[in-house]
């Protein structure tokens, strides 16, 4: 009894001290408050609206208090199959993508092979996968009449529809996410540790198993988590490649809403989809927080690279070459399609697809770039800042902040889109049809990747460096800007790139939020694909990829300049 009393007293005192500390730093307290308000507004509110909708009774879609929808979902064998398929696909995709991403990142950062810059580029580019067109490209490569399957191997009726096609597509589209975060993490591991182990006589496998891998574990865990969730929420690939025989939850949620006009049913499926996503998140958080490693603890170091044997070096090299070829062919097909008279059939050269796109889509291209340019810096800085607060500061509701900011990432885009319309269509929050609603959607949907990368990177940096700065009189703001941000700049960079890419390529939520004033290229691509203009869709996609590549280059230079980090040594 008395111990409980004592504990309560102690906790009360801790809260008091905490408040006192915050009062000394009003800037910090205000930002925490502002972030909580934004999270409540743009993540929690739409989610609550969707949850309300899922409790609507039957077809009428009038929000009420019935669980009829959930009952119906669980009684249907088809929906149960969708749940199982989603989980199986999510696990396999995450494992495959992280494996490919890790090998590529390890080779680029630790192994002495030629063409590293090229491998780096090849591993970043597929993060840009224009929706639908990339799935179409997979069909043209591995489908019944596919270039690889039919023309090279002579197989007609290769069963591409279902798990197989989906895994190919998701591995190609998601491994860059793993690569970017693995690379950031591997670069942040001080090579002096590995060198020390070698000097002490450890074998290469031992060094890898006992030092490199455990140090990379938090990064691997967060990449697995992110890709598992992404795969669960992906609907562009399964929509084209899975067909009805292989239902998945995100697609079924989308189809309930758009095919059966059943908002309530779709919302219920989305809420069910949250369970595995959130579980994965909690599992990862528990695991990572148990294993915290500090490797950057002062001056930067340079290392002699000797992590792998000569034979292994060339096996890794061969692997990278194969991945590069697949990626190049994947884009090559789109490139060829954009300049062909009839993609997939008549490959004679033409520029008419581009003149058509210029004619129909010029304004959309400008809109899309504007939306991406506005949302990227907001998303990047917010992500790093939340990561910084979560890892380095103690405040009430810290866990809640991390949890909430991750939440919208785990929801299928369709439902976020619907949630946004439900939440922001009436005064005083009348945002539908504006630039704000698109920007808010992209910022809060994709900031979790930045946060995760930031957290993983921060876990590896000794807080002592920042504490030293604080002791010398720097404020939280200065510490964040001058010390933390430059140290985690690879994670910051990948957060920015990811935010920009997603603002340019996302479709599932955006399709509900575009308007006559603000339209997006992805929505146009979908329209072109469904009305039979494959060449125009390919041309649109090519322009999209081009814009993103230019933007990544500019972001890299800006991050260099603003943070005073020489990137040549890192990228």
């Amino acid at each position: 009894m008395s111990t409980i009393l004592l504990e309560t007293k102690q906790r009360g005192r801790r809260v008091y001290l905490e408040l006192q500390r915050l009062a000394k730093e009003p800037w910090l307290a205000l930002s925490i408050l502002a972030i909580f308000t934004l999270l409540a507004l743009f993540i929690v509110l739409p989610l609550v609206k969707v949850f309300q909708m899922s409790l609507a009774s039957g077809e009428s879609s009038v929000a009420g208090g019935s669980v009829a929808m959930y009952k119906e979902v669980f009684q249907s064998w088809y929906m149960r199959k969708a749940l199982v398929n989603s989980l199986v696909t999510g696990v396999l995709s995450a494992l495959l993508a992280v494996l490919v991403g890790f090998i590529m990142a390890y080779t680029v950062t630790r192994v002495n092979v030629p063409f590293k810059k090229f491998f780096n580029l090849v591993s970043i580019v597929p993060v840009i996968s224009p929706p639908f067109v990339s799935a179409l490209s997979i069909l043209l490569l591995f489908g019944n009449n596919g270039f690889v399957t039919y023309n090279l191997l002579g197989i007609r009726n290769f069963p591409i529809y279902g798990l197989r096609g989906l895994l190919i597509a998701q591995t190609i589209t998601f491994f860059p996410v793993a690569y970017l975060s693995m690379k950031g993490v591997l670069e942040a591991i001080n090579p002096a540790l590995e060198d020390a182990a070698f000097d002490l006589g450890a074998s290469r496998w031992r060094v890898f198993g006992k030092i490199t891998l455990p140090l990379a574990a938090p990064g691997i865990a967060s990449a697995l988590l992110v890709i598992f969730i992404e795969s669960l929420a992906d609907f562009g690939n399964p929509l084209v490649l899975a067909g009805s025989n292989y239902p998945t939850l995100a697609v079924q949620a989308y189809l309930e809403i758009t095919g059966m006009y059943n908002l309530a049913g779709g919302a219920a499926l989305a809420v069910i989809l949250l369970i595995p996503s959130v579980s994965a998140f909690i599992l990862q958080k528990y695991w990572v927080s148990k294993k915290s490693y500090v490797t950057v603890s002062g001056k930067p170091t340079r290392s002699t690279v000797k992590s792998v044997s000569g034979a292994m070096q060339w096996i890794l090299f061969a692997f990278c070459v194969v991945v590069s070829i697949v990626v190049l062919v994947f884009y090559g097909i789109i490139f060829v399609g954009a300049f062909s008279r009839a993609w997939g059939f008549d490959y004679s050269f033409t520029l008419r697809n581009f003149s058509y796109v210029w004619d129909v889509g010029y304004k959309t291209i400008v809109d899309t770039v504007t939306v991406a340019l506005v949302s990227t810096p907001i998303s990047g800085i917010l992500g790093m800042f939340i990561a910084f607060l979560v890892v380095r500061r103690n405040f009430i509701g810290k866990g809640l902040m991390e949890f909430t900011s991750m939440l919208s990432f785990a929801l299928p885009g369709t439902v976020v889109g619907i949630g946004y319309i439900l939440a922001f269509n009436t005064k005083p929050l009348l945002l539908t049809g504006t630039l704000t609603i698109l920007v808010a959607n992209f910022v809060f949907r994709y900031v979790p990747v930045g946060i995760q990368n930031g957290i993983a990177a921060l876990h590896q940096i000794d807080p002592g460096i920042e504490e030293a700065a604080t002791d010398l009189g720097a404020s939280s703001q200065t510490v964040f800007r001058r010390i933390t941000l430059p140290l985690i700049s690879p994670a910051f960079f990948s957060g920015l790139v990811f935010a920009f890419v997603r603002a340019m390529t996302a479709i599932s939520a955006a399709i509900f939020l575009v308007s006559a004033d603000w339209n997006l290229m992805t929505v146009q691509i979908l329209a072109q694909v469904s009305s039979g203009r494959l060449g125009a869709a390919a041309a649109f996609s090519l322009i999209l990829v081009g814009i993103i590549l230019v933007a990544i280059f500019i972001i890299r230079i800006l991050v260099d300049r603003l943070l005073g980090v020489k990137f040549e040594t890192r990228f």
Binding site: E59, S60, S61, W77, Y78, L136, L139, L140, G143, N144, N145, G146, N157, Y161, L239, V240, G243, S244, N245, V251, L255, I257, T258, G259, M260, Y261, L263, R341, A342, W343, G344, F345, D346, V360, I418, I421, L422, N425, T426, L430, T432, G433, I511, F512, V514, S515, A516, D517, N519, V523, Q524, A527, Q528, V529, S530, S531, G532, R533, L534, G535
Partner: protein
């Protein structure tokens, strides 16, 4: 003289600027982007009414209208088959309007209570990739029964009725023509030759155009578009008859710009507009009895049409789709 011309110029500028400031008509268009753009530009040219539109396929359009119900952002929903407009009417999302121009239309194109008006139609069609057919050495199928032949095994793509209005239209029109038992036994047989049921109603045309599938089933416009682009397709209307869709237009309840919305309905079903469908290469069949179908369209009276009942189809959707999932899809 000079004064009066100045005055005229002033008045002209005034009217022009008033015209420019008038709120444009906001359209949710389930007609594809390119056709919607052409059709609406022609409307603005004829009437001077400014228009803005967003392309949304029927599902997202309905979801959006429902979510925006308390504060409608658009005036009118153009396109998507009439059964979807029946759904919109039942959900209380639209409002009635009898256009004076609708009197000449066939009764099946106008809602009894005036909630929706169909303004064009598309027949269901079967298309075969002729390059594939040559290589595989198969003959052109002429009927639905021919599609059951083993030579088409795993070569046919059709949209799933779960998500696609096109897929549902195919299933529902066969049930209406043959009765539920016979239609389902046919669909179970056909399932053996199905490569995949696509989620989107227009995906089969892509697959058959690039040779991914030998045969595709869907509404004709995308097939005709691909043929125009130079893909090797042959369009077939099975001799037992095909269903059709009659895409409609509805005015959204609480439309901020009601007057102009009504003007668009009037214009779309006028003889001049209906003739434009051909000139604009939309591949849409006009509904106006005197209108001329465009170049490249098969003669309408030679297509064997099945009767279709959009209201029955709309009312029985859930039961039929559930039965299809249980009997056809599960049977695999």
């Amino acid at each position: 003289m000079r004064k009066s011309s100045l005055l005229v110029a002033f008045l002209l500028v005034l009217t022009l600027s008033v015209g420019a400031f008038a709120a444009p008509l906001m359209v949710y268009s389930s007609v594809d982007e390119e056709n919607a753009r052409d059709i609406l530009a022609a409307f603005t040219k004829d009437t001077g009414i400014p228009v803005r539109f967003v392309h949304l396929s029927s599902g997202p359009a309905l979801a959006r209208m429902e979510a925006e119900k308390d504060n409608p952002r658009a005036d009118i929903w153009m396109g998507a088959p009439s059964e979807n407009h029946v759904t919109a009417k039942q959900r209380g999302l639209t409002q009635p309007y009898f256009s004076p121009n609708a009197k000449v239309l066939d009764a099946k194109f106008v809602d009894e209570e005036g909630y929706w008006t169909s303004f064009y139609m598309n027949p269901m069609g079967v298309a075969m990739n002729t390059a594939w057919a040559k290589k595989a050495g198969v003959e052109t199928p002429e009927s639905w029964q021919d599609l059951l032949k083993p030579e088409f095994a795993k070569e046919i793509q059709m949209p799933t009725p779960q998500s696609s209005g096109t897929g549902y239209n195919l299933v529902a029109s066969l049930i209406l023509a043959w009765g539920e038992e016979e239609a389902f036994s046919y669909l179970r047989e056909l399932d053996k030759n199905i490569q995949t049921y696509t989620q989107s109603g227009t995906a089969p045309s892509q697959a058959v155009a690039v040779g991914e599938a030998g045969i595709g089933i869907q509404f004709t416009p995308a097939f005709l578009k691909y043929m125009d682009e130079g893909y090797p397709l042959q369009l077939i209307f099975p001799k037992e008859g095909v269903g059709y869709e009659a895409p409609a237009i509805s005015i959204i309840k609480g439309a901020p710009n009601l007057e102009h919305a009504q003007a668009l309905v009037d214009w779309l079903i006028s003889l001049e507009a209906q003739n434009k469908f051909g000139e604009l290469k939309t591949y849409f069949f006009p509904v106006h009895p005197q209108a001329v179908a465009g170049e490249g369209l098969p003669a309408f009276n030679e297509i064997p049409l099945l009767e279709y009942d959009a209201i029955w189809a709309g009312d029985n959707r859930k039961d039929i789709v559930d039965k299809w999932i249980d009997e056809v899809l599960r049977g695999q």
